[in-house]
Symmetry: C2
Subunit: 390 residues, 2 copies
């Protein structure tokens, strides 16, 4: 089944369930009750005090004040970059789309992790670009396989999500980060580092981004993508790209031709947010809440399925990755779960080829603690019943 | 010179001029002092009262309430379409980009008017898609040339801007509209009808859109694109596509993969605007103001250059198209004009091939009446001087 057919089946399954009563572990949504509604209101109010804000912007890179705030923020992440080397996008999805479009075309190859973000697989497929999976373990891509796949396929870029990665929450080791950069640099292959979850870390240790590690060579190998969707609010659709001037120039041109510029009112509101509120403080609250939701999920999983399944121990991000019995059809399990009011994301969608493990992805940030307990109980019940009957 | 090099030169020229003191006839901006600042503020306030508005939308087509408002609005334009057949986009640029991406790829051909919207030419060029110009007069494309170009090039679609078209304000005759539809329908070629200016008509007569005329065949041939950029505010970046279900389905998929969805706060604000304010009344005020700015421009042109140049008599839209002497280099004229504090858009950018006429495009909506007079005087002076020296 192609990713698209597969996706349509998933859509169909999910549509069957009424969203009101459903306990959803499916989508990567932030918690509704943690959205900074009041603050955002004030930021829009402030943004709209400037008459000129309603006119076209003549800067396709994005509002300068926002780019300056992003530049400051990146400094905290040890990423030294001027606002001139930042392009504001309509969420990180558009960032990934723009980078794909300037580097690859129909028939080209892109290397991806196994497993990886399913929407990127769908997007590449839609554009006739071939995604090739690289063998990975819990430290990151295996260097020898990166090397071989580069040699064999001459890919246009390597897509990675190395910090609390989607779908399995993996954090690449520093060694593997360096090895990937080295191999790509030697072969002249670009790396697209997608980092939507990097701020949501449960411990305060610094994990260097690939972009940071590529500083020595003027960021010629790594393009960095991030977003405010997970840490402020998804609806504002403000993401961004950090890239060296040559790469950025092409991206800005394409941005101008495809949307002229991203929404400037949204941009200005986020700029005010960063100027007037303490995002690190908010992050700390978010992380605390998310960690306790995850604890709730893991505690209940231990009780219900402790002897049946295994899962990663996420140290950040928004997903728990659970490996279920190879005898269970995860689409059938989803259908039965939905009938019982629980949903999740079947793992094979995250593989471009045959999965190594029978995984399912559970989001732990959207659903309240209470509902998480109930949801896991229901899911476990369906799972036990299905297992008993195979 | 390729469109891209040409564009870079133009950018360079325009950057030389300080935007503060410049009298700009270049860009297609609405009047700053006509932007509905207070109303828009209230609409954002209202939109942000809904907590849920900050979360991801699960509807890539766009907010349902906005699509319903658009559907009602289109009814006034004799376009009968349900909200299900509308996709909300990040301005009409993204609408054009999405349609291009689902229909054409590198190496394909698209037919365009001569002259046509320069950003579309740049975008097609950027994507390696060949734009081929169709011979046109003041009634629209010549049917015999449409037929020949379709036969010769088997284009993926025909891009037209038939109502107060960019750059020359042309309004296609109904006969030519029908002929284009008939020819495209027979050949199975799609028409992209771009209609950003249709509401800005100085007389109240109804001009049927191609989309309306294609109703008999279930809109299988025409895809309709419009935007609120010119009639409410550009910064909100809310455009839309009306298309039949089959075409729309592919567009929605690509929209989801490229941005997930357009900014929902912007969308909801526009939805509130359409629900709470009388856009037709606003339009009437806009049209009145723009017509008087145009009158100012034409009156001064008559005085200054009446015997030297000719121009169209716009009956709507935002552009006046002026034909200057073939002996004048319009890029040199621009450089000299900029040195005198006036800017415009040289006409050859709007042609994919050798222009028939030496035209320049003057926007009459952005600049105040007083400055329009001064600007035309300065431009005329530079023109006379240059003409005297050739």
């Amino acid at each position: 089944m192609s990713p698209v057919d597969n996706g349509n089946l998933l859509q169909k399954l999910l549509k069957k369930a009424s969203s009101e009563s459903l306990i959803s572990f499916t989508a990567g949504f932030p918690a509704n009750d943690m959205l900074p509604v009041e603050e955002i209101r004030k930021c829009y109010e402030k943004a709209l005090k400037d008459h000129q804000i309603l006119q076209y912007s003549t800067d396709s890179k994005g509002n300068r004040s926002l780019r300056e705030e992003i530049s400051k923020r990146l400094k905290h992440k040890h990423i030294i970059i001027t606002s001139d080397n930042i392009l504001v996008t309509t969420g990180s999805s558009q960032a990934i789309d723009l980078i794909t479009r300037i580097t690859a075309a129909k028939g080209d190859v892109v290397l991806v992790e196994r497993p990886t973000y399913q929407e990127v697989l769908k997007s590449l497929h839609q554009q006739g670009i071939q995604a090739v999976g690289v063998q990975s373990d819990w430290e990151g891509m295996l260097p020898e396989d990166v090397e071989e796949k580069i040699r064999t396929f001459r890919p246009k870029f390597v897509y990675v999500n190395p910090t609390f990665g989607n779908p399995n929450g993996k954090v690449w080791s520093i060694e593997r980060r360096k090895q990937l950069i080295q191999l790509c640099k030697a072969a002249g292959v670009l790396i697209l580092e997608d980092d939507p979850y990097g701020d949501l870390r449960f411990q305060s240790m610094h994990i260097p981004s690939l972009y940071e590690l590529d500083e020595a060579s003027d960021h010629a190998t790594v393009v960095y993508v991030s977003t405010f969707s997970k840490i402020i609010a998804p609806a504002v659709r403000v993401g961004y790209i950090a890239a060296n001037p040559t790469i950025l120039q092409s991206l800005v041109q394409l941005q101008h031709l495809s949307v002229i510029h991203s929404g400037t009112i949204d941009q200005q509101a986020i700029s005010h947010y960063l100027q007037n509120y303490d995002l690190d403080k908010r992050n700390a609250l978010l992380v605390k809440e998310y960690q306790s939701r995850l604890n709730e999920m893991e505690d209940e999983l231990v009780v219900q399925l402790g002897n049946e399944v295994k899962w990663n121990k996420p140290t950040g991000g928004i997903y728990l990755w659970m490996e279920i019995s190879p005898d269970i059809d995860s689409m059938q399990l989803l259908e039965d779960s939905l009938a019982n009011g629980v949903s999740y994301f079947p793992g094979h969608f995250f593989y471009v080829d045959e999965p190594d493990v029978n995984g399912i992805r559970l989001n732990f940030t959207f659903t309240s603690k209470e509902k998480i307990r109930t949801g896991i109980r229901k899911l476990a019940q369906v799972y036990q019943e299905m297992k008993a009957s195979v």
